[in-house]
């Protein structure tokens, strides 16, 4: 058995993979938060609950309608995104004139309500959701065993993140979004329906959370509280990356997943706290975050 720094390579690469998987979810979720924060100026604490709703949506699509994983990947973001649009129109739209804090309180309250309702209904032991047939099994890479589904999650998340980055930074639609982030009144005075754009942006950000939820279902099961724990870490990721930075949230998400994984190998005692330690250091040294401006 070969070793690196006295650690068996098998264990090292295994933790690296787990880190990449976690990083995939950190990146997808913090990206959604960044997109929403950029346009709405709201810190969407409901994000974790919406991730959980995505997983439940996949579960219901399968068990009530017989629609499998691939359908869920398509439909859950649309369905959960639509509930986001309702929330934006009915509630968030009333808060834009006010301090960040109100949006944060509202979305935090909503998260508690949604999680509470799901927990009453489904308890807190997870419901099973199987890996899709096409992605069962795995391959032996020589130095480690790579399960197909996990490889898929990392690749799919990376593709979705980069596509989102591309749209925002390199296209005309993205130019509208960036401009409206800076000066919504002027963009609207150019003839763009900015309120509608804000609504759709929230729907999209929520859709990303739901997509992550579907991808997580076969790995972590479907659990009403699955988002509650994760979202705390994701907020630390967002703080480290810098609120509102698109590329920052992607890079930081993956990087912190990997760092967390490596910590598990080299100093397991700190693996649950390493992200928060990094957050504290970043806050002290560079409060705007690694990729944040101002």
């Amino acid at each position: 058995m070969s070793e690196i720094f006295g650690i068996p390579t098998q264990a090292l690469f295994g933790q690296l993979l787990i880190g990449l998987i976690n990083g995939s979810f950190y990146a997808l979720l913090s990206l959604g938060l960044a997109v929403i924060f950029g346009m709405l100026n709201i810190i969407n604490f409901t994000h974790g609950a919406q991730y959980m709703m995505g997983a439940f949506c996949a579960y219901f699509l399968l068990n009530k309608l017989g629609l499998g994983y691939w359908w869920a990947l398509l439909l859950a973001p649309v369905i959960v995104g639509a509930t986001g649009i309702v929330i934006e129109r009915l509630m968030l739209a009333r808060l834009y004139q006010l301090d960040h804090l109100y949006g944060l309180l509202l979305t935090f309250g909503l998260a508690l309500v949604i999680q509470g309702l799901f927990r009453n209904e489904f308890g807190s032991s997870g419901l099973p959701y199987n890996i899709p047939k096409a992605l069962e099994g795995g391959r032996n890479l020589g130095f480690m065993f790579l399960p197909n589904y996990r490889a898929w999650v990392v690749v799919a998340s990376l593709v979705v993140c980069l596509a989102t980055w591309f749209v925002i930074e390199k296209t005309r639609l993205g130019a509208y979004l960036r401009a409206a982030t800076e000066n919504p009144a002027l963009v609207q005075a150019f003839g763009i329906n900015v309120p509608r754009m804000i609504t759709l942006t929230y729907g999209f950000g929520v859709g990303l959370a739901a997509l992550a939820g579907v991808m997580a279902a076969p790995i972590y099961q479907v659990n009403p509280l699955m988002g509650a724990d994760l979202i705390i870490v994701v907020f630390a990721v967002v703080v480290i990356g810098g609120m509102g930075s698109i590329m920052g949230s992607i890079v930081t998400g993956f990087a912190l997943g990997v760092i967390e994984g490596l910590t598990k190998v080299f100093y397991p005692e700190a693996s649950n706290t390493v992200i928060f330690i990094i957050m504290a250091i970043v806050l002290l040294v560079r409060p705007q975050g690694l990729f944040g401006q101002r």
Partner: protein
């Protein structure tokens, strides 16, 4: 107050506007005919910017009548007003820092036929061509002003609202902007121009309205300007 002539492209009557509780326009009225360049003169705080923003639908609450091409704009959101062919170039220029010069230029969507092509805009503002990939806010003040004007020429808007386009710029640039306004007029654009510098205004405008305390208090035709210099000095406090 002059009588509202028929056929004005823009007719503003008894316009009131508020920022929250504070009542800023108190019954302003004036008009702009098709193809004219008209200025709003007045001291700081007289309500010139607010008047342009009211036309554009960018103030919280407004009342009265703003007729553009026969349609009342009061009550329409600013995106609908833009789609009718009104374009606004703000006093602070509004160049987006997160957009390149090219993206800034192409940002405002085309709302109708008849706008300038990008090539024609580069003819008017040759500096912009070389700076297309720079960050919008890396341009000099003069170039930013050119960009702010240039980007609303593509859209096909017929009425341009320009808020102090010469503010803070060097005399040569002010001259260039004057020449551009003259060219735009010859191309059939109708322009409502806010100015504090009435000597500049005199070189480009057909008529001048004077604003004080949220009202239009006087109108001076450009050829009567010389005869009214003392009165203007009074109004503008120069």
């Amino acid at each position: 107050m002059p009588e509202a002539a028929d056929g004005a492209l823009l007719a503003v009557r008894d316009l009131h506007a508020w920022y929250g509780e504070s009542h800023v326009l108190h019954g302003a009225g004036f008009e702009v005919r098709q193809g004219e360049v008209v200025t709003l003169l007045g001291r700081n705080g007289a309500g010139k910017t607010t008047t342009l923003k009211s036309i554009m639908g960018m103030v919280g609450r407004r009342a009265g009548e703003i007729r553009f091409d026969g349609r009342d704009l009061v009550g329409l959101p600013s995106n609908r007003i833009a789609r009718l062919g009104v374009a606004f170039c703000p006093e602070e220029r509004g160049i987006f820092a997160s957009l390149s010069v090219g993206e800034n230029l192409l940002l405002p969507p085309q709302v109708r036929e008849g706008g300038l092509g990008v090539a024609e805009i580069f003819e008017l503002f040759p500096n912009l061509r070389e700076r297309l990939s720079s960050q919008g806010t890396k341009l000099s003040g003069g170039e930013q002003q050119m960009l702010a004007i240039g980007r609303i020429l593509r859209t096909g808007a017929r009425l341009l609202l320009l808020d102090e386009p010469t503010e803070g710029l060097a005399p040569v640039i002010v001259q260039q902007i004057g020449a551009i306004i003259a060219k735009l007029k010859s191309r059939g654009f109708t322009i409502l121009l806010v100015e504090q510098n009435f000597r500049f205004a005199a070189t480009v405008a057909d008529r001048h309205y004077v604003m004080e305390h949220g009202r239009v208090v006087d109108m001076i035709a450009n050829d009567e300007l010389q005869a009214n210099v003392d009165k203007l000095h009074d109004y503008l406090g120069v």
